[in-house]
C-alpha cells in the first residue's frame, strides 16, 4: 500500500513537472510565436497551407471557425468510413482481412475515432487491416486531438482578447498543434515504448505452438506508433482488443507509467497554457487545482474500494488482494486503479484492466468521471473547455454572492452565455440518461447485457457515458456490436462531441466581443484556492446529482449487495 501511494505521488509530481514547461511551450505555439525548430517546422507547415490554399494569418470569427472545424471533421469521418468498407481491396493487409462487415460498425468506428472517443465495438486484430489502422485510425487520433486543442485555444482567445470578433485561424491551430506538439512528443514516446518491448512491424500474424501444445495466432502490427498517439491524444483506441492490458501494447510497469503520463500531460499542460495566455498564472492554477482535487478524490475512492476488495472472495480464504479479477498481475491494484482513474479522468479510454470487474464503487469512479463530462483534467482540449462550462456556472451562481454581475476574467457572464453553458452541460447529460433509459426498456438494448441486475444497468450506463463523454473505454460486459448499440452509441459520441464544441465556440465568439473590466477588491477572485474548492463542489453537485438516482440503482446498490455477499 505504501508503494502504491508512492506511485501516485510520484506520478502526479512527474506529471506536473513536465506539464508546466509543455504548457508554456504550447502557449507560444498557439500565440503564433516562433518556437524552437522554427526553421524545420515553418517550411513543413507552409507545404500544408499551400496545398490547402489557406492563409494561416487570416483570423476567423467563431462561426467560420466552427464551420471549418465541422467540415474538416465530417470529411475525416467520411474517409474513415469508406476506408473500413474497402480495406479488402487496398494494400497493407497481410492478414487479408475482409471489409468491415456492417455499415453500422463502420459508422460507429468512424464516429468514434473522429470524435476522439475511440469506443471500439470491434476487435482490432481481427477486423482492421494495417492500412486502416495507420491511415484511418492513427490519422484521426492526431486530428481529433488537434481539434480538441483548437477549441480550447479558441475559447481561451475568446476570454483574453477584447473588443474584437476573431478567434484565430482553425487551420493554423490544428496544423501547428500536430507538427509542433503532437508529432515531436509521439516520436520520442514511440521510441521509448519500443525500448520497453512494444512491437512495431508490418508482418503477418505469427502462428505458434504453446507450451501446452495448442496452436495460437499472435497478432502483429505497427503498434508502438499508434500506442503513443493513442495515449497522448487521449484517444484510447487499442491496436488490440485487450488494449493496454495486452503485453504488446503495454509490457512493463515502466511502459504503464509512461502511458499514464502521456494521457494526462497535454490536458494538464493546457491549464498552464491558459495561465500564460491570460497573463495571470493563478487563473490556470486555480482550475488545475480544482481538477487535481477531484482527481485525488476519485483516485482515492477507486483505490480504496479495490484495495478493500471483495469480501466474498476473501471469505474463501484467499490471501492478498481480493479484487484482482480482470486485472493484470504485473500491474496490481495500485497501477490498475491509477490507470482506470487516469484514463477516465482524461476521456482517453485506454484500459489496462477490465472496469467491468471492478467493485461497485471502484467501477463507479470511472463512470462518474465520464458522466461529469470528462472535466477532471479531461481529454486534449475537451477537458479544458468542458471544465470552463462549470467555471461559468460557478462564477454565475457564486459571483452573484459578492454583489456584482458575474464576470470571469473581467468579462460579464450574461443570458447568452448562461444558455450556451447550460446547453453544453444539459445535452450530453440528457443524452446519457435518455439513451440508457431507452436501452433498459427495449429488447435490443437488453440483449447486450451480459450480467443481470444492477450490474447490467451499470454496463448500459457506462456504455453511453463513455460514448457521450468521448471516453471510449468499455465496461467490457456490454456486447456492443449490434445495430442498436452501434448506431445509438455512434450518435451519442457525435452529440457528446459537437453539442459541447458548438456552444463553447459560440461562447468564445460572444465573449471575445466584450470589454474586460479591470479586477479590484470588489471582484470575485477566480484565481484563489477558495474558487478551486468551489468549482470542484459545483462539478460534484451539478454534475453528479443529475446521475445520482441512476447510479444508486447501478453501481451503488451493486457495491452494497457485494458487501452483503451477493454478486451478479
Amino acid at each position: 500500500m505504501t508503494k502504491d501511494i508512492m506511485l501516485f505521488v510520484l506520478f502526479l509530481a512527474v506529471l506536473l513537472l513536465c506539464a508546466w514547461p509543455l504548457g508554456k511551450y504550447m502557449a507560444r505555439v498557439f500565440n503564433y510565436e516562433k518556437t524552437c525548430g522554427e526553421r524545420f517546422f515553418a517550411p513543413l507547415e507552409n507545404i500544408f497551407y499551400k496545398m490547402a490554399k489557406v492563409d494561416p494569418r487570416t483570423e476567423m470569427p467563431w462561426k467560420e471557425y466552427c464551420l471549418n472545424l465541422i467540415i474538416f471533421n465530417a470529411l475525416g469521418m467520411l474517409s474513415l468510413f469508406v476506408l473500413q468498407l474497402t480495406q479488402a481491396f487496398l494494400p497493407l493487409n497481410p492478414q487479408q482481412l475482409p471489409n468491415v462487415e456492417t455499415w453500422h460498425l463502420a459508422f460507429n468506428t468512424a464516429a468514434s475515432f473522429m470524435t476522439n472517443t475511440n469506443w471500439q465495438a470491434y476487435s482490432g486484430e481481427t477486423t482492421l487491416s494495417y492500412l486502416t489502422q495507420m491511415l484511418g485510425l492513427t490519422v484521426q487520433n492526431f486530428l481529433s486531438a488537434a481539434t480538441g486543442a483548437a477549441v480550447a485555444i479558441a475559447l481561451i482567445r475568446g476570454l483574453v482578447r477584447k473588443n474584437t470578433g476573431e478567434l484565430g485561424n482553425f487551420w493554423a491551430d490544428i496544423i501547428r498543434c500536430t507538427t509542433r506538439i503532437l508529432l515531436p512528443i509521439c516520436v520520442v514516446a514511440t521510441l521509448l515504448l519500443v525500448s520497453q518491448g512494444v512491437i512495431q512491424n508490418l508482418n503477418p500474424y505469427v502462428d505458434v505452438q504453446t507450451v501446452e501444445g495448442a496452436q495460437q495466432t499472435i497478432a502483429m502490427g505497427p503498434v508502438a506508433s499508434q500506442e503513443a498517439i493513442k495515449e497522448l491524444g487521449t484517444n484510447g483506441g487499442g491496436f488490440f482488443n485487450a488494449n493496454s492490458s495486452h503485453p504488446f501494447e503495454n509490457p512493463t510497469p515502466w511502459s504503464n507509467f509512461l502511458e499514464m503520463f502521456l494521457i494526462l500531460v497535454i490536458p494538464t499542460g493546457l491549464l498552464f497554457t491558459f495561465g500564460e495566455m491570460c497573463k495571470d498564472k493563478k487563473q490556470g492554477y486555480a482550475v488545475l487545482a480544482s481538477m487535481l482535487l477531484l482527481f485525488v478524490l476519485m483516485l482515492g475512492v477507486c483505490y480504496a474500494s479495490e484495495k478493500y476488495g471483495n469480501p466474498i472472495v476473501a471469505a474463501q480464504g484467499i490471501s492478498g488482494d481480493t479484487a484482482m479479477e480482470g486485472k493484470e498481475v504485473r500491474f496490481g491494484i495500485g497501477s490498475s486503479s491509477l490507470f482506470a482513474t487516469v484514463t477516465t479522468a482524461a476521456s482517453c479510454g485506454a484500459v489496462n484492466s477490465m472496469h467491468d470487474s471492478y467493485t461497485g464503487t471502484g467501477g463507479l469512479v470511472p463512470m462518474l468521471q465520464m458522466m461529469l463530462g470528462e472535466v477532471v483534467l479531461g481529454g486534449v482540449g475537451a477537458g479544458f473547455y468542458g471544465m470552463m462550462l462549470y467555471v461559468f456556472i460557478t462564477v454565475f451562481i457564486v459571483g452573484l454572492m459578492v454583489g456584482r454581475t458575474p464576470e470571469y476574467l473581467g468579462k460579464k457572464i450574461e443570458a447568452k452565455e448562461v444558455v450556451l453553458t447550460i446547453a453544453g452541460l444539459l445535452i450530453p447529460a440528457a443524452t446519457i440518461l435518455t439513451m440508457s433509459a431507452v436501452s433498459c426498456l427495449t429488447e435490443a438494448g437488453q440483449a447486450g447485457i451480459s450480467n443481470p441486475g444492477p450490474h447490467g444497468l451499470s454496463e448500459i450506463l457506462y456504455g453511453f457515458a463513455s460514448g457521450v463523454g468521448n471516453n471510449g473505454s468499455a465496461f467490457a460486459g456490454l456486447g456492443a456490436n449490434s445495430l442498436w448499440y452501434n448506431v445509438l452509441i455512434g450518435l451519442a459520441m457525435l452529440i457528446g462531441r459537437f453539442a459541447v464544441i458548438v456552444p463553447v465556440l459560440a461562447i468564445a465568439g460572444n465573449m471575445v466581443t466584450k470589454k474586460i473590466a479591470p479586477a479590484n477588491a470588489g471582484t470575485f477572485n477566480t484565481g484563489s484556492s477558495l474558487f478551486a474548492v468551489l468549482l470542484a463542489g459545483v462539478v460534484l453537485i451539478v454534475g453528479a446529482l443529475t446521475f445520482l438516482p441512476a447510479l444508486a440503482l447501478g453501481p451503488i446498490v451493486d457495491q452494497l449487495f457485494m458487501l452483503q455477499g451477493k454478486v451478479f
Partner: protein, 676 residues
C-alpha cells in the same frame, strides 16, 4: 399601530392574490414554479383516480403530497404578492395626488380658460396660482412660486420653483402654495412622472432585468436537467424490477428543481426596487438597480456630497499692524446684511471668537453693497467708511484703484489658504487692507470612512468640482477620495465617464443641472436630483426625491445587496438538493433493494414519511425565506473575498446542513401526529 394595520392589510391582500395568481397564464411566466403547478395538477388527478379505484391508502398519500405541492405554488405566489403589495400601498397614496384637476390653460391671446387636466397636451402653457395643483410635468417659463411637493417626495417643507436655471422643473400633482408660475407642459396625460412612479412601484410594468433573465435561464436549465434525471428514473426502476409511483416521481422532481430561488426570484427583484423607494430613490428601471451593484467608479460632486454645502469662516488673519479684533469687527459689519451662508458664518465666527454682537444696520445708516458678478465683492457703506470683502484678485484691483497697496503678508496668507483647500476672502476698509478671512470647505463627518469602505468594495471615488487644481487637491486629500476632477466642465465630465467606460468600468454619478444631462445619460447609473431640471431627470435612470447626492452610495449598496440575495438563495436552493436525495432515493428503492436503506442516514420513519417530509420542507422553506428575500441578505462593506466567505458559509454550508435537520424534524412531527 397604523403601520401594523397597514402591514396586516398588505398580508391579507397578498393571501388573496396568491390564489388569484394560480391562473396558468401567470404561472407560465415562472417556468420553475410552472413545473410544480403542473405536477400538483397531475398528482391531484392521481389522487382522485386512486380513491375511485378504492385504493384509499394510496389516495391519502397522493392527497397529502398534492396538498403540499399546492402550498409550494401558493407560497411562491404569496412571496411575490407580498412584495407587490408594499408597492401597491405606496402607489395608492400617489394616485390620490393624480385625481382629475382643473387647469388654467393659456390661450394665444394671453387669457386663460379652465379645462380638465386630461385635456392638457405636451407644449400647452398653463397658469398655476397659489392653491392650484400643477396639472402636469413641465418647465416654469415665467414667475416664481413656493411649491409643496410632499405628494411626490414625502417632504413637507415647500421648495422654490422659478423660471430659468436649475430649479425650473415642476411635477404634476404637486401644489403651488404662494405666488404664481406659468408652466410649459412637457408630457401628455398618463406619461407624467407621477404616472411612471405609480407604474414602477406597482410593479405592473416591471420587466425582468438582464441578470434576472440570465438567472431564470440557469434555473430553467437546471430544471430540465433534473426533469431528465427523474423521468429516466422510471425506466431504470422498471429494469430493476420495480415501479415508482408517479406521485413519488413528481415529489422527487419538485424537491430537486430549484423551487426555493424560483419561488422567491421575482419577490427579490421587487423588494430591491422597494428598498430603493424606501430611501426615496426612484429607479426608472430594474436594470439601473442591478448596474448600481456593478459600479466601479463613483463621480461625486464636491459640494453637498463630500463637503457641507457651504464654506464656513474659520479664522481671521489680520494684516500687519491690525489686530484680529479690528479685522473681525470690520468683517462682521461687512457681512451683517449678507444672507449667504458664507456671510452668516462670518458673523457667527466673529461672535464666537470675539464676542461681537450683531448691530442694528439702520442705526448705522449703513448701505449694503451686494455681490455682483462684475465687482466680485460685497460689503457695506457706513457713515465714515466703506468696507469691502472679496476674492484676492478683486480686492487687489479695488485697493490699487483707490491708490492703496496690497500687503505682501496678506498675499502670502491668501496663497497659503488656497493651498490648504480653503477660500481666502480679503477685507479692506477704504484703501487699507485689514486682513483675510479663512473660508473653509467643511468635509462632512464620516465621509472619509465611507470612502475607505467603498475602496474595500473595489469602488473608486472621484470628486468633481469647479474649484481650481490646488483647492481641489487639498480637499480631495482631506476627504480621502481616490481622484478628483478640478475645474470640471460638463464636457470634461462626459469625457471622463467615457474614458472609464472604455476601460471596462461602470460609472455612477449624480447631477441636477441641464448641463449635467449628457453625462447623466452617458453614465451607467445616473441619479438625478428631484430638485433638478426636467432634462436632468429625463437623462438619469434614477431620481432621488430627497435631492441628496450622498445617497448614491446607498444606491450602490442596494444594488449589491440585490445581487447578493439572488446568489445566496440560489446557492442555498441548490445545496438543499443533497439532503433531499438522501431522503427520497432510499425511500423509492428500499423495497426493491434493501441494502439502499443505508443511504437513509436521517433514519426517516418510512418511505411515505420520508417523501412527504422532503416535500413539506421544500414548501415551508419558501415561506421561511420570504422575510430574507424582502430584506435582502445582510450587507457589510467588506472586500469581495470576505463577503464570499461569509455568504458561502451561511448559505452554502448552511444550505447543505439545514435540510437534513429540517426534514428529520418534520418526519418526527409527522410520525408523532400520526400522519405517516
Amino acid at each position: 399601530m397604523k403601520r401594523d394595520r397597514q402591514q396586516q392589510e398588505i398580508l391579507g391582500e397578498a393571501v388573496r392574490n396568491a390564489f388569484l395568481k394560480l391562473d396558468p397564464r401567470i404561472q407560465w411566466k415562472n417556468p420553475v414554479m410552472f413545473i410544480v403547478f403542473l405536477g400538483a395538477i397531475l398528482v391531484a388527478v392521481l389522487a382522485v383516480r386512486a380513491f375511485m379505484a378504492g385504493n384509499t391508502q394510496e389516495g391519502w398519500f397522493d392527497l397529502h403530497i398534492d396538498l403540499w405541492l399546492w402550498f409550494t405554488v401558493l407560497f411562491a405566489n404569496f412571496a411575490e404578492a407580498v412584495a407587490e403589495g408594499r408597492g401597491k400601498a405606496q402607489a395608492e397614496s400617489l394616485r390620490k395626488a393624480r385625481k382629475s384637476l382643473q387647469a388654467k390653460k393659456i390661450k394665444a391671446d394671453g387669457s386663460f380658460e379652465i379645462v380638465g387636466s386630461e385635456a392638457i397636451r405636451k407644449g400647452d402653457i398653463v397658469l398655476v396660482e397659489a392653491g392650484d395643483t400643477i396639472p402636469n410635468d413641465g418647465e416654469v417659463i415665467e414667475g416664481m412660486a413656493s411649491v409643496d411637493e410632499s405628494a411626490v417626495t414625502g417632504e413637507s417643507a415647500p421648495v422654490i420653483r422659478e423660471s430659468g436655471g436649475d430649479k425650473s422643473s415642476v411635477t404634476g400633482g404637486t401644489k403651488v402654495l404662494s405666488d404664481w408660475i406659468k408652466v410649459r407642459v412637457t408630457t401628455n396625460p398618463g406619461e407624467t412622472f407621477l404616472d411612471r412612479m405609480i407604474g414602477l412601484v406597482e410593479g405592473a410594468k416591471r420587466q425582468k432585468t438582464p441578470n434576472e433573465i440570465a438567472l431564470t435561464l440557469l434555473l430553467v436549465g437546471l430544471t430540465i436537467i433534473f426533469l431528465f434525471a427523474v423521468v429516466t428514473l422510471e425506466p431504470f426502476a422498471i429494469y430493476s424490477g420495480t415501479v415508482i409511483s408517479v406521485t413519488a416521481l413528481v415529489a422527487l422532481l419538485v424537491c430537486l428543481i430549484p423551487t426555493t430561488i424560483g419561488g422567491l426570484l421575482s419577490a427579490i427583484g421587487i423588494a430591491g426596487m422597494d428598498r430603493l423607494l424606501g430611501r426615496n430613490v426612484l429607479a426608472m428601471s430594474g436594470r439601473a438597480v442591478e448596474a448600481a451593484g456593478d459600479v466601479n467608479v463613483l463621480l461625486l460632486d464636491k459640494t453637498g456630497t463630500i463637503t457641507l454645502g457651504n464654506r464656513m469662516a474659520t479664522e481671521f488673519i489680520p494684516a500687519a499692524g491690525i489686530t484680529a479684533g479690528e479685522l473681525a469687527d470690520a468683517a462682521q459689519l461687512a457681512s451683517l446684511a449678507d444672507e449667504t451662508p458664507e456671510g452668516r458664518s462670518i458673523v457667527v465666527l466673529a461672535k464666537e471668537k470675539y464676542g461681537l454682537r450683531e448691530r442694528d444696520l439702520t442705526h448705522l445708516q449703513a448701505e449694503f453693497i451686494p455681490f455682483t458678478a462684475q465687482t466680485r465683492m460685497s460689503g457695506i457703506d457706513i457713515v465714515d467708511a466703506r468696507i469691502r470683502k472679496g476674492s484676492m484678485e478683486a480686492m487687489q484691483n479695488y485697493v490699487s484703484e483707490l491708490g492703496g497697496a496690497f500687503p505682501a503678508e496678506v498675499r502670502s496668507a491668501c496663497e497659503n489658504i488656497a493651498h490648504q483647500g480653503g477660500t481666502p476672502l480679503v477685507v479692506a476698509k477704504d484703501k487699507q487692507v485689514l486682513g483675510v478671512i479663512y473660508l473653509k470647505d467643511i468635509v462632512k463627518g464620516g465621509i472619509k470612512e465611507r470612502f475607505s469602505e467603498l475602496r474595500k468594495m473595489g469602488i473608486k471615488t472621484i470628486m468633481i468640482t469647479g474649484d481650481n487644481q490646488l483647492t481641489a487637491a487639498a480637499i480631495a486629500a482631506e476627504a480621502g477620495v481616490d481622484d478628483f476632477l478640478a475645474e470640471a466642465t460638463p464636457e470634461a465630465k462626459l469625457k471622463m465617464i467615457r474614458s472609464y467606460q472604455q476601460q471596462g468600468m461602470l460609472v455612477a454619478m449624480t447631477g441636477d443641472g441641464t448641463n449635467d444631462a449628457p453625462a447623466l445619460a452617458q453614465a451607467d447609473v445616473g441619479v438625478a436630483m428631484n430638485s433638478g431640471t426636467q432634462a436632468a431627470k429625463e437623462a438619469g435612470n434614477m431620481v432621488d426625491l430627497d435631492s441628496n447626492p450622498t445617497k448614491l452610495i446607498e444606491v450602490v449598496e442596494i444594488g449589491k445587496q440585490l445581487l447578493m440575495t439572488r446568489g445566496s438563495l440560489t446557492t442555498f436552493s441548490i445545496a438543499n438538493d443533497i439532503a433531499k436525495y438522501f431522503a427520497i432515493i432510499p425511500a423509492l428503492f428500499a423495497a426493491t433493494y434493501a441494502p439502499l436503506e443505508v443511504l437513509n442516514i436521517m433514519q426517516l420513519h418510512s418511505p411515505q414519511s420520508a417523501i412527504l417530509s422532503a416535500v413539506i420542507f421544500n414548501a415551508l422553506i419558501i415561506i421561511a425565506l420570504i422575510p430574507l428575500a424582502m430584506k435582502g441578505v445582510a450587507y457589510k462593506p467588506l472586500g469581495a473575498s470576505k463577503i464570499l466567505q461569509r455568504n458561502l458559509l451561511i448559505y452554502g454550508v448552511g444550505g447543505i446542513i439545514v435540510p437534513f435537520i429540517g426534514i428529520k424534524i418534520i418526519d418526527v412531527l409527522l410520525v408523532a401526529l400520526g400522519l405517516a
